[in-house]
Symmetry: T
Subunit: 75 residues, 12 copies
């Protein structure tokens, strides 16, 4: 949820992203945000929608995390 | 849902927004739409996904409503 | 939920309705009930299933609320 | 969803049906509507709730589709 | 689900009911069906949607079970 | 959601409440919070879980809103 | 749901409990309520959230039922 | 859920079954487990996914319960 | 759902499969069943859990349908 | 889901679309993708979120399918 | 789920908490439990309900995890 | 989701597993896959269904993760 205290007059847009990492669930989240930050300013919060992954030779090859990300629509 | 009678050949895109209002749930919906209308034409319908809010001193400070909004992709 | 204290021997039927209002979510609920009351007696409770609406010129044109309504099946 | 543009003052009732077809999912939807149209006028929209089917000798025998169907409550 | 083997050409309608019993969940289901059988022929299957109840003096006073009931629409 | 910017070291507890009002959905939310504020300090946010109501003579008698309310566990 | 007719000015709190019984689902519900009644007055209704159980030697050893229980917050 | 205290190094597999009984929901659960125990050792817990049934002459003919059953994958 | 009329003493097992087809959703269902029928006898019914697909050059390359399939556990 | 084997370092964005067709569910999916392909490159997969439609004279007038579509965010 | 083997006569209460951590999802879970352990004895199990977080400068600032925690109601 | 590009003619089976780890959520996923790989070849992807755990002395004793795992049915 947006930070309701300080940002009360803003409108947020929610974007849905999938990030991946060979290391961890947290890494997949970070990778999605790093890429999105190239074009979106003012991302405020995220929510994990789904955690999946790819298996190779009986072991996790990548984690893939689907995120909803909220950012402020600038005035 | 899109207006199926008249707009049968259109494709719609769905956007997800969060609006807020100190007054009411309806106000939070309207504020989200007013802001979105600055950049999006042809919004046709919305659906309330979640109703939340912020509490200050034991009372509602703002309502925050998450909307899915459908608009026509122009040809 | 039905009023469990007084009506313990009753069986309820649940009906699903969509009402609309240009004013408010509460107005859409009331309009659905007023219309349903023409043919159904003994409506006891409702539950909001979905809140949607139609947008015109970037503003809410109508709220549309889907309700489940419970009423007593008379003996 | 009801057609919000033209039918703004209507109240809709939602009916739940199961249709079946040996041919296709679309056929099961059509068969449910054809049967319902014998007694219900003014059906406006449907929503697929569940798609199931029966298997005979390792192959689909019928598709069975559960629909919610909205129709106008006439004044 | 409807009996797909024998009844392949039928269309089913689904009704939603709430029954109650002071004794058991099964009793609440049976009471709903007994009442519905007064006006509906050819009920074929049910599905439990919700199980609730009323508490009096710290003990269950009634079980209340919400059912979806499928019945054949006669030709 | 808790205010993540300023309150990062806090742990929140979530409480579930039902409030009612004869007037509006917003009124039912406010009434639940007013009552809860008698014993709970530091309520920060709420989320609407369900909106229901009671019908009398074919009209809404009360709105009943189920809320999840988050408050800070004090150190 | 709370009894909306008689208790319209009350605010309810919802508690979540897990009860168990070697005998039946109803027994697990009753055992949860009996224990809760030691400290909570004015429990009004419950809703079954989940039904699970433990298996020993290929047979049910206990039923475990998760309940949401509503009780009146006293003025 | 698996018994987390004693079985911490185990991996569980979850199986989905449908059992039926003319008598009760508990009977349908037991019948599914009795049959499964013929080929599966070390079943530990179950969870009820759905409760349905068949109606004959306006009364319950069988209860049908869908279960998820967890059992230990032996080393 | 299993055919409750004739098969009342059976226990069913539910299997989850993903089939694909370049042609249609129905084709993906059939392909999953054809493959499963090589090792599983007595498949009775299926339920569509998810419909997805792969896109190539802006067009559907395959439909992929996830099914739950019920079959009789033989005595 | 994204193709996890070959595209492991990519981040995907998910878009939500509604397409329609007078012919079939598959047609509605294709129409949404054809329109989206005018502005989005590198669409990789879709998932059907909802299948609805419009009824005219007791028969299906259009199918309307809501899709989530994943595409690669180019570096 | 409670440990069904050893604790069969207990009744559990379920509490809902939100914990946060700048490091990891696991850290947010641990921080919630550490704080809760100050006042609650006999916590037995938890279940993750939601994973969210706060973003600052295009990177995760905190993870926030909502937990349901079960603990034994002492006799 | 299966890798739709390369494996278009395959049918997948989905298995549900619970793994545990004293260290992390990722560890619980890996432990489930390592054990499953002893008997299942060609596991391709997984999806996290639920994350739970056991608490001892107010701290996490094990994480337990329920997975759906897809593997190719060999021709």
């Amino acid at each position: 949820m947006p930070d309701t205290t300080e940002m009360k007059d803003h409108v947020y847009k929610i974007l849905e992203l999938v990030g991946s990492s060979e290391e961890s669930i947290e890494g997949a989240i970070q990778n999605a945000l790093i890429r999105a930050a190239k074009t979106i300013r003012d991302m405020k919060w995220f929510e994990v929608v789904q955690t999946r992954g790819h298996i190779e030779n009986g072991s996790v090859r990548h984690y893939q995390v689907t995120l909803r990300v909220g950012f402020t629509l600038e005035e």
